[in-house]
């Protein structure tokens, strides 16, 4: 009963910063936990990769509720990175994923640069981990809560530190925030610091006011805006970064709801895509979107997903 991709003559495999994956469709961090719950709906080993919820060094309770608000064609979330901490995560979640045979990209976060290094270090030689996504869109408690991803130096510091704490062959993806004046500046900085690829984009900073209380609806006041609403911003970011860095592998995300949306990302320059908020609407989304992409490619007479990457630039 678990949904798996349909057979297709289109070559859907991708090569992404030394990783070979059978599908270009991944989960998005924070929108699939560690894959176990989704595995009731889809065969979690049949998608490109499971990108796990950002994990930190220690257990985190996350923020008080309300943690979300629905918005037009999107939602705002302020979960506060609730999670078990890296040790329990490795013991429970990663071991389940590796036993299943899933390809896992572990998303990591930290309160300061050092913590990122420590979390990364724990991930050496864990089976099934095909890459690390570094979520730098979190606040640096040592610098008045400034978000790492909003400053090229802070962003580079994190990537540098993580790079030194993982094996040289471990693919590193830096996840960028769109809330900056020039995203290509941050992209260049993290690539120089050792990122093998980029995940584009994280949520946009937003706020919803509760009409009854007239106060911010989320306990954390602001939250991250995601979903189809932000897709045009995400496509623009991918396009800009692809133009600035023609060779860097990009995992595109932000509002992908169907195969057509995903194709927009590939054309703009993404080599793979992550599906986030849409999973809440359709738990089968990652497999469905894989199928829809293959169908569109077939209609266009293309043989491989790689034939469509970057075509919007030509």
């Amino acid at each position: 009963m678990k949904r798996v991709p349909k057979r297709t003559s289109v070559d859907m495999s991708v090569d992404l910063a030394r990783i070979n994956l059978e599908s270009p469709v991944f989960t998005a961090s924070g929108c699939a936990a560690a894959g176990k719950e989704l595995d009731q709906f889809i065969d979690i080993t049949s998608i490109g990769a499971v990108v796990t919820k950002s994990v930190m060094l220690n257990p985190r309770s996350g923020r008080a509720t309300p943690r979300m608000a629905e918005t037009p064609s999107g939602m705002l979330n302020g979960i506060g990175l609730q999670g078990p901490g890296i040790d329990e995560f490795i013991a429970n979640d990663l071991s389940w994923l590796s036993q299943k045979g899933a390809k896992t990209i572990v998303s990591i976060a930290g309160n300061n640069v050092e913590e990122f290094g420590k979390v990364a270090d724990k991930l050496r030689d864990i089976p099934g981990v095909v890459g690390i996504e570094v979520n730098i869109s979190c606040p640096n408690v040592e610098n008045r809560g400034q978000v790492f991803a909003c400053n090229p130096n802070a962003a580079a510091d994190v990537i540098n530190t993580v790079r030194r704490n993982v094996s040289a062959s471990m693919p590193l993806f830096a996840k960028l925030s769109p809330d900056v004046t020039d995203i290509t500046e941050i992209a260049r900085a993290v690539v120089k610091a050792g990122a093998d690829g980029l995940s584009v984009i994280n949520t946009l900073l937003g706020m919803v006011i509760d009409i009854d209380t007239l106060k911010p609806k989320l306990s954390g006041k602001t939250g991250g805006l995601s979903g189809p609403a932000i897709r045009p911003v995400a496509i623009r970011c991918v396009y800009q970064i692809r133009k600035a860095l023609p060779e860097i592998p990009i995992i595109g995300m932000g509002g992908i709801r169907n195969g057509r949306d995903a194709v927009e990302f590939f054309a703009a320059g993404a080599n793979a895509v992550s599906v986030g908020t849409t999973v809440f609407n359709d738990p089968e989304a990652c497999v469905r979107i894989h199928d829809e992409i293959a169908e569109i490619l077939q209609e266009k007479g293309l043989r491989s997903i790689r034939d469509i990457v970057n075509v919007a630039h030509n």
Binding site: A33, P59, R60, S61, A64, T65, M75, P228, V279, F280
Partner: protein, 284 residues
Amino acid sequence: MPIVHKGTVVDNKKVGSYFVLTATAADMPKEFKPGNFVAVAIGDERSSLILRRAFSIYQVNDRGVYGGTVDIVVSPHGPGTDYIASLKRNDPINLVGPLGKPFSLPKDPVPCVLVGGGYGAAPLFTLAEALTARGCRVDFILGASTQEKLFGMLEARRISTTLSVTTDDGTSGQMGRVTDVLPDVITKSNAAVVYACGPMQMLKAVSEVALLHGIVSQTSVEESMACGIGVCMTCVLPVIGDDGITRMLRSCVDGPAFRGDKVRWDQVGQIPADTWGAPSEGTH
């Protein structure tokens, strides 16, 4: 296992303030256990509302002409519930389920009191059947703000030993709250377990009464949910584990039914300071 059901509306009728909607849902009846819920999509790809809405399963039926069907009770009061209330026979409806942990049933045939507040009564009727099948005596209490918001009185009367009714405004039954009559019902029925579903304030009050009487309570909570399937972490509340440690548990997969004495009712909506992973200086 829950699945995505691309179903059809078989019926949607107004009952008091509510709508009882019946939808086709092939295997749902086989998988269903009392206390499960379904998550309903609000419109198709054209819709600007992308999050599903959660509804307790009121009934399932696998013998009908439509194959498996599921019934939910909807209280229209916002864009999503208004939409569902507006659905007509033969309209498409997309639902995911059955979701959530079912109610825990007692091993022995002990007397049970079932307390439903408003549409919170919905999951209690299949529960009553399951309890009765195990030989448990079932007593029902239904409460609401006003008569129109009481749900399932006739049915409750039919399947229970006693039915007590309260309304805030006295338009039906006794004027007051369910907890005004609960102690008496517990005592008279010699209940060992109280099951409750309704507003959070009611669940808290019911748990307190159960605690006072030294009996177990099972409360089905209602927290705002984004995914309903355990992947987003929006629906959490502080619950004390068997190890005595408070954790922020997901009401969609660790619940919605929790033991009433384990939920830290006064701190729902907060992170109690002793919660596992709670913020300490400089880490959040």
